[in-house]
Symmetry: C2
Subunit: 346 residues, 2 copies
């Protein structure tokens, strides 16, 4: 790869849970880097982070941080993306944004490489990375959509606390210790850091991820509904979501009911899933094999199992879809997009 074009790369939110995984993947994938700039809030600036044997110092992200940057990966929250991405674009960077800031912007492609990588060619400096719970679902459903069409999706999620950041992981582990010791959980972060009411997550499940909208759905549920249509490029797909936080550290699980437009052979469905890029079929009920969050943690793939024909609707299927929310759900999907930009033949 010695004659490969090298890029000036910036990672914004380098000290966060997703930023950490992005850096690990950039090193592991030997991403063609000319220079690497680690950016964060003023509070984390000065942190030293090892990268391929060097020690890099995190700098405070400012509008001028992006001078000379060609590819910028953002995972520091929607407010940071909204404030800084226009400046990064002005400096000529292609921004891959992990936040909700630009996902539904009609000018911004919303990309899961296994589904719609062709959309990156239309970008105007920003490519949005979808919500974690959406990415794994559309990656698994894409081969079924292509073969049979999809009319309706009804999904209930079992989402890991790492989706709410490192603080939520610490809170869940701390609460678990407290409850095991017979003490109060004293919730402090979840379900939503910026909202006043807190609920125990240790040994509990919480049917709220992100804020409630006027229609009674949460923002997380609306993300799954809207982003699925945009990524699939098909507004006719009807989607219903119920998003639930569970006391798991890494790995979102999803119970998905999907109505296809045609009747299907269940063997063909399994074969399509087994062959799909980025998808691993784990489906052997006789030997009690199905995807588990603990098995998916630390792996890039989307795992699918419990594949079964619905008993009441011959065009419907039930699936169980699991993936590491920090990897395919965030860092890995972003690095995949960066590879498609940097290495056109990828």
């Amino acid at each position: 790869m010695s004659d490969q074009t090298l890029f000036n790369v910036a990672v914004v939110g380098a000290t966060g849970a997703v930023g950490e995984q992005i850096l690990r993947l950039l090193a592991e994938r030997d991403f063609p880097i000319q220079s690497l700039k680690l950016l964060s809030s003023a509070r984390s600036a000065g942190t030293k982070i090892p990268f391929k044997g060097q020690e890099l110092t995190v700098e405070e992200a400012t509008p001028e941080s992006f001078e000379g940057v060609e590819i910028a990966l953002f995972s520091a929250g929607g407010d940071v993306s909204r404030a800084l991405i226009p400046h990064a674009v002005r400096h000529g960077a292609v921004c891959i944004d992990n936040t909700n800031a630009y996902r539904m912007d009609p000018e911004t492609p919303l990309v899961v490489p296994e589904v719609n990588i062709d959309k990156i060619s239309g970008h105007k400096g920003i490519i949005a990375n979808p919500n974690c719970s959406t990415i794994q679902m559309v990656a698994a459903l894409k081969p079924l959509y292509d073969r049979f069409g999809i009319s309706r999706i009804i999904v209930s999620t079992y989402q890991a606390v790492s989706g709410a950041g490192a603080k939520a992981i610490n809170e869940m582990l701390r609460q678990s210790r407290e409850v095991l010791n017979g003490n109060e959980a004293n919730p402090d972060i979840l379900p939503v850091g910026s909202l006043p009411v807190k609920h125990q997550i240790a040994f509990n499940v919480i049917p709220q991820i992100d804020k409630f909208q006027d229609n009674g759905f949460t923002l997380e549920e609306m993300k799954m509904i809207k982003e699925t249509k945009k990524i699939m490029g098909d507004d006719s797909i009807e989607v219903t979501a119920t998003c639930v936080r569970v006391p798991v550290v890494y790995g979102h699980s999803e119970s998905v009911y999907v109505e296809l437009k045609e009747e299907f052979d269940i063997g063909e469905v399994k074969a399509l899933l087994a062959d799909a890029p980025g998808v691993t079929l784990v489906d052997d009920p006789e030997n009690q094999r199905y995807p588990l969050a603990t098995d998916a943690a630390g792996r890039n793939d989307v795992f699918v199992g419990r594949v079964r024909r619905d008993l009441s609707n011959p065009r419907a299927l039930n699936l169980w879809i699991v993936s590491d929310n920090l990897l395919k759900g965030a860092a890995w999907n972003a690095v995949q997009i960066a590879e498609y930009i940097a290495i056109p033949q990828a």
Copy 2:
């Protein structure tokens, strides 16, 4: 209540998690007891259990244990019920069975008092208590069924480990301590005690409850599908279930999508749920109030929230239904049935 008829009562499985709750409820409800016989396997016989200031000794359950018994509550597993209930019936007892042994027997009423208490009059010595995850769902859906009709239910569950017995609770707590201390979880009981493959439940979710059937559904899922139709007395209701074990001690949660036969006013739906017997509506998104397993634990009611009109189907609703699986899901439903037998005016 001094002139009340008193009954000779037996509790089979008195030392188990459900038996313990049955005894607590019989005492708390001041059930009209003439004599109380506590029965169990040979292994637990001899255990002393306090009841209303007395100390009772558990005896081994045998076919002749039921001589003179008028009401027998069984929660010692399907095999014990199949072996002993015919003898209890022969001795003239009315048996309330918490196991799966007789639920789908056409001669046996399957009863949730809020839904079909009228069915107990047809019993031939056996009344079956439905599966925990079914009971809470049908209790919540009954008022909607009566008012609008129901054509389809799609449910994904978040089921507590106590549904698999005291050993599963201990296993989940032990595994949690091990994982928090950086050790292996060493699974030993779940997902199904009698099957060879074990999976970690601490900080994980397992999409298997009970054994797999040839159609790819688990027995737990098939119970929800079949029992719902039988309890509602309506085979036309289409039901799909995905049953998942979560690391919660007490309280099953359910994400339920339900298609009604008519369009509805969402305010009327909430009013019907608020007025339904045995149901408590907890639905205030603005103040982040919705049912939680930790709040439902130790309470008899079924809690319903996250009530919202589906965005893609004007006849469909989404609900979040939570109840203590050992209480309304088992012991309380059984004691309710016993009260209807013992106290006809109840």
